[in-house]
């Protein structure tokens, strides 16, 4: 990371950890974040060890590939089996669909390529005569890039299998669960760079819960946690921006305009959670021509497969941490993943395994 934005400073980290200790109430508080990048920063920097015992922080549905329903993976597999090239982000490859994963489809001879960016899919399409489909997953941070390629005169052989999801509706959905126990949200910094603060107010104000937008340096996260605890201490829940260097209240107007122009909001299925109202993006009718869901004959959407013993549904709704699962780091490892949370690079189980994170072993 570039020097002016590196905020590593042990003295300040200690001061912020002390602030957290002073602000933490005596009773347990459960704080939830919804971003794999936050979880990596927390686990990698050992931030949980700086928190008082009463304060826990859990990842909810922060891994886009983990929450992609099996039926969307089945659609991508069916497209690949029809002879088209499927371009996918790498960590989607091993996530099991209803029957097989993209990786298994590739081993059966399908042409499935991993890309780092939506623009790489355009490049692939320009270099072949075959049909090329971009499997577009990701939250609000990633949806504008898909919109940008759709609007940028894409080649005729390119189409988009849109599976983008929206975070604030999912944050609200978790609060509808009877036993959620969530006392505050650490909101995702880069989703917020795009959407600003408004959508959190619209979706979460009625729950009277602290929502603090946090950055990704260790100090950013500690600071955001301190602000959440201060809101709890003051009984003054609100949406607060603790990452002003990358988040403006209105968000990124150019990116929001791209999303608005290309997509419309619809209800969407989240793996492990169920259908969440107004939480997905589908291509507008004006872009039917580039919509892979219309260009290809796709299978009827089936339910997500039950995975016996896997606690991903609880992990994705922040009702369990990975080490609560009896299979964690035993039968289920990144080499032998049982559920999607161990496959996705941003899944809590995979991150906890990589960094040796544990609570209640």
């Amino acid at each position: 990371m570039s020097a002016p934005f590196r905020l590593a400073d042990p003295a300040r980290a200690r001061a912020l950890a002390e602030a957290i200790r002073l602000l933490a109430p005596p009773e347990p508080v459960k704080i939830v974040h919804v971003c794999g990048t936050h979880e990596v920063a927390i686990a990698h920097n050992g931030l949980r060890r700086l928190l008082p015992e009463t304060v826990t922080i859990l990842e909810g549905p922060g891994c886009p590939v983990c929450v992609t329903p099996a039926s969307d993976i089945d659609a991508a597999v069916a497209i690949a089996k029809s002879g088209a090239v499927v371009c996918s982000f790498g960590d989607m490859m091993r996530v099991p669909g209803g029957r097989i994963s993209l990786e298994q489809a590739r081993s059966e001879g399908c042409d499935i390529r991993t890309v780092l960016s939506a623009k790489d899919a355009v490049k692939e399409a320009r270099e072949t005569k075959k049909e090329v489909v971009f499997f577009a997953v990701g939250f609000e941070t990633t949806a504008p890039m898909t919109a940008a390629i759709v609007l940028d005169d894409p080649p005729d052989n390119l189409s988009v299998l849109a599976s983008h999801k929206l975070i604030p509706p999912a944050m609200a959905a978790l609060l509808e669960l009877p036993d959620h126990g969530i006392a505050g949200y650490l909101a995702p910094g880069h989703v917020s760079t795009i959407i600003g603060t408004g959508p959190y107010r619209r979706w979460l104000d009625r729950y009277d819960i602290p929502v603090v937008i946090g950055g990704f340096e260790p100090l950013d996260i500690l600071y955001a946690l301190a602000l959440i605890l201060r809101q709890i201490a003051d009984s003054a829940p609100k949406v607060e921006n603790a990452y002003p260097r990358a988040v403006d209240a209105p968000g990124n107007p150019a990116a929001l305009k791209l999303i608005e122009e290309v997509f419309e909001v619809r209800d969407a299925a989240w793996r492990g959670i169920g259908t969440i109202p107004s939480s997905g993006l589908e291509l507008r009718a004006a872009f039917a021509g580039i919509d892979a869901r219309r260009r290809f004959n796709l299978p009827e959407a089936g339910p997500d497969p039950e995975i016996p013993g896997c606690r991903c549904p609880d992990v994705l709704t922040a009702r369990a941490v990975p080490s609560d699962c009896p299979l964690f780091a035993k039968r289920c490892t990144p080499l032998t993943p049982v559920g999607p949370c161990m496959v996705g690079a941003e899944g809590a189980c995979s991150i906890w395994f990589r960094y040796g994170e544990r609570i209640n072993p």
Binding site: M145, A148, Y223, R245, A246, N252, A254
Partner: protein
């Protein structure tokens, strides 16, 4: 997947910026950005697209925010913790 990292703009050609990611040269699309950028600016890049212009000043301002919070809690440090400490309310 929402990983984004700052890079320094070297040059701009239409809606493409050539950038330096701490030594690594690459390009970023600018059509996802609302404001114009110039060589020397820092931008936050996500999957090859700029999502925010950053000012190097902002890093220092962030540190000042952290210090303001911790300073506001100073009077509640353990030394004067005879009675259960009052909850600090708001930045002093």
């Amino acid at each position: 997947m929402c990983l984004a990292a700052p890079a320094r703009v070297i040059s701009v050609e239409g809606k493409i910026a050539h950038v330096d990611y701490g030594g690594v040269r690459t390009t970023a699309r600018l059509d996802t950005l609302s404001e114009p950028v110039e060589p020397g600016d820092y931008i936050l890049i996500h999957t090859g697209f700029a999502i925010q212009r950053l000012s190097p000043e902002d890093g220092r301002e962030t540190l000042a925010l952290f210090d303001e919070l911790t300073a506001s809690l100073e009077p509640h440090r353990p030394e004067d913790e005879g009675d259960p400490p009052e909850r600090p309310s708001g930045v002093g």
